[in-house]
Symmetry: C2
Subunit: 316 residues, 2 copies
């Protein structure tokens, strides 16, 4: 059953008290090199440093009270882990987060900082699913998937809704695509709240499952994985893919060099910290700028949680 306009509106009201209405920034310099008017929706300034709190918070707030009492569980080593940990704390329940035992300390510490229980597992899909199932069986906690979940998609949709309320009549919105939670939500919001606004995605060449899936019409796996955009490694889910197929206009891929150039552009010209995953849509726009000449384009900067030690790798 398709997510409705009313469900997105209700989700927005539901999560508003718990999230920031993030600013929309512009850069004269970046406009001049893009040849278009760009509006950056800065989810790097969001609670937990990423848009993921929208979906996580919406999912947690829609759980029945008795289910909530058992806690919530997920598997993630990234921003969704922090989102669930934060959301659980906000509503006064427990969070159980399954993380690979190879997770960087900085990410583990962030999740611990919100008071969540961490369950370490071997860094593979089977170990992760087993660990999660064991926790759910033992505690009765409610599982909230990082993206393949209508409550999560509906929550992520509030980001583009907010952008369109502030900057109406956009010709296009660009979002990154990993599992497709943000992209499918963005596409739904554009469809419902600004019908003429087309939605595009940027994807790393080194994690190009979505563009393949988009072309073949079925969920594909990336031919190879090699990208610094570590938030975009997952493949589409059976709930996100159909929405993307129906409402997204195109998906563009970009190289690692293009990602690093865009990262440098945002750091140097906008003076804000964003994740590599986050500039993939900007890189995609710049690569295809003749299509968007003179247009008004929204770009969702999805998050800003970076390990400062990586800077040497990117800019050294």
């Amino acid at each position: 059953m398709q997510i409705t306009k009313e469900q997105i509106e209700q989700a927005h009201e539901r999560v508003k008290p718990f999230i920031h209405q993030t600013p929309v920034l512009t850069s004269t310099f970046i406009n001049s090199i893009a040849g278009a008017e760009l509006f950056f929706k800065c989810e790097n300034f969001q609670k937990i440093g990423a848009f993921k709190i929208r979906g996580g918070m919406n999912a947690v707030l829609t759980l029945p009270k008795d289910q909530l009492a058992n806690g919530i569980a997920t598997h993630s080593s990234g921003n969704h882990a922090q989102a669930i940990a934060y959301a659980a704390r906000e509503v006064g329940t427990k969070a159980f987060i399954v993380m690979p035992n190879t997770s960087p300390k900085v990410k583990v510490d962030a999740v611990k900082g919100y008071g969540a229980d961490i369950i370490f597992c071997e860094p593979n899909q089977q170990a992760r699913e087993n660990a999660l199932q064991e926790i759910v069986d033992r505690t009765g906690a409610a599982f909230i998937h990082p993206y393949n979940d209508e409550r999560v998609i509906t929550g992520q949709a509030t980001c583009a809704k907010e952008l369109l309320e502030k900057i109406p009549a956009l010709d296009a919105i660009f979002a990154p695509v990993g599992g497709g939670g943000l992209l499918s939500g963005t596409a739904l919001s554009a469809h419902y709240f600004s019908t003429a606004t087309k939605v595009y995605a940027g994807e790393p060449e080194g994690a190009a499952d979505a563009v393949l899936s988009f072309k073949s019409g079925q969920i594909e796996t990336a031919p190879y994985i090699n990208t610094i955009a570590d938030g975009l490694l997952t493949k589409l889910g059976d709930k996100t893919f159909p929405i993307i197929q129906q409402y997204v206009t195109d998906i563009f891929t970009v190289s690692e060099d293009e990602i690093i150039s865009s990262l440098q552009l945002v750091y140097e010209r906008m003076k804000i910290i964003v994740e590599p995953s986050c500039v993939v849509p900007l890189a995609a726009l710049l690569k295809n700028q003749e299509q968007f000449a003179g247009k008004r384009v929204g770009i969702i900067l999805s998050g800003g949680n970076v390990d400062l030690k990586k800077f040497a790798e990117w800019f050294g």
Copy 2:
């Protein structure tokens, strides 16, 4: 003759069309570790990426038309160079910038990008002064000193004025101190526009001339220079020092480790790019936080022009 309240008000009206009214940001996390309520005035988002445009623009806009026709000149390898280059372009005259031949390419390119003429000199005081004098003699350009100039001080004062208009009744404002242009301007604005607001400065231990001067009552030279806060290497001038002596409450020094910790805090928690010089006041506040427990404190984040290649050095 002392800079008056009316002069600062006029300067503000004069520069307003050319500058950004920069945002004031807060961070719940940084407040919690500081034990105070902090308000960050984000001049890293200012035109040319630093507060220096305020003073440069004010000086240029107060020049008589006939003098302006000959162009403007200065010596600087930093943000003042960009400020003068930008201001000259805005008013349609030439800028002549004397820079040491050791200046990083990124800074040279930024100044060139605004269309200024660059005159390279050997990296010492005498060569710099000779080169500047030669240019002024040859072109009749008006010299605008980076800080030891009333027009510049008055322009820099508009930053604290703007902060106090947005966030009234601050108990204190912290600014960095190099040559003292920003600090003396900040102190004047606090004095005129919010009498109860005390002004403090942060200075690197490795460029500790201002704190020595403040204590001895005469302009001193730093015992040694060793700091990543490369915007704060200059010593006080005979126009900035008396204002600082009269209106600044205290100057605190901080170590290099303290500067890097504060830099990391701002990058990770506020998700914004700032210069090392810029976090010296935050480091100073955190080091002396018992004095400011529960207070409302403004902190001027002076700029965001960094060489991304330095990240490896700071965070590696």
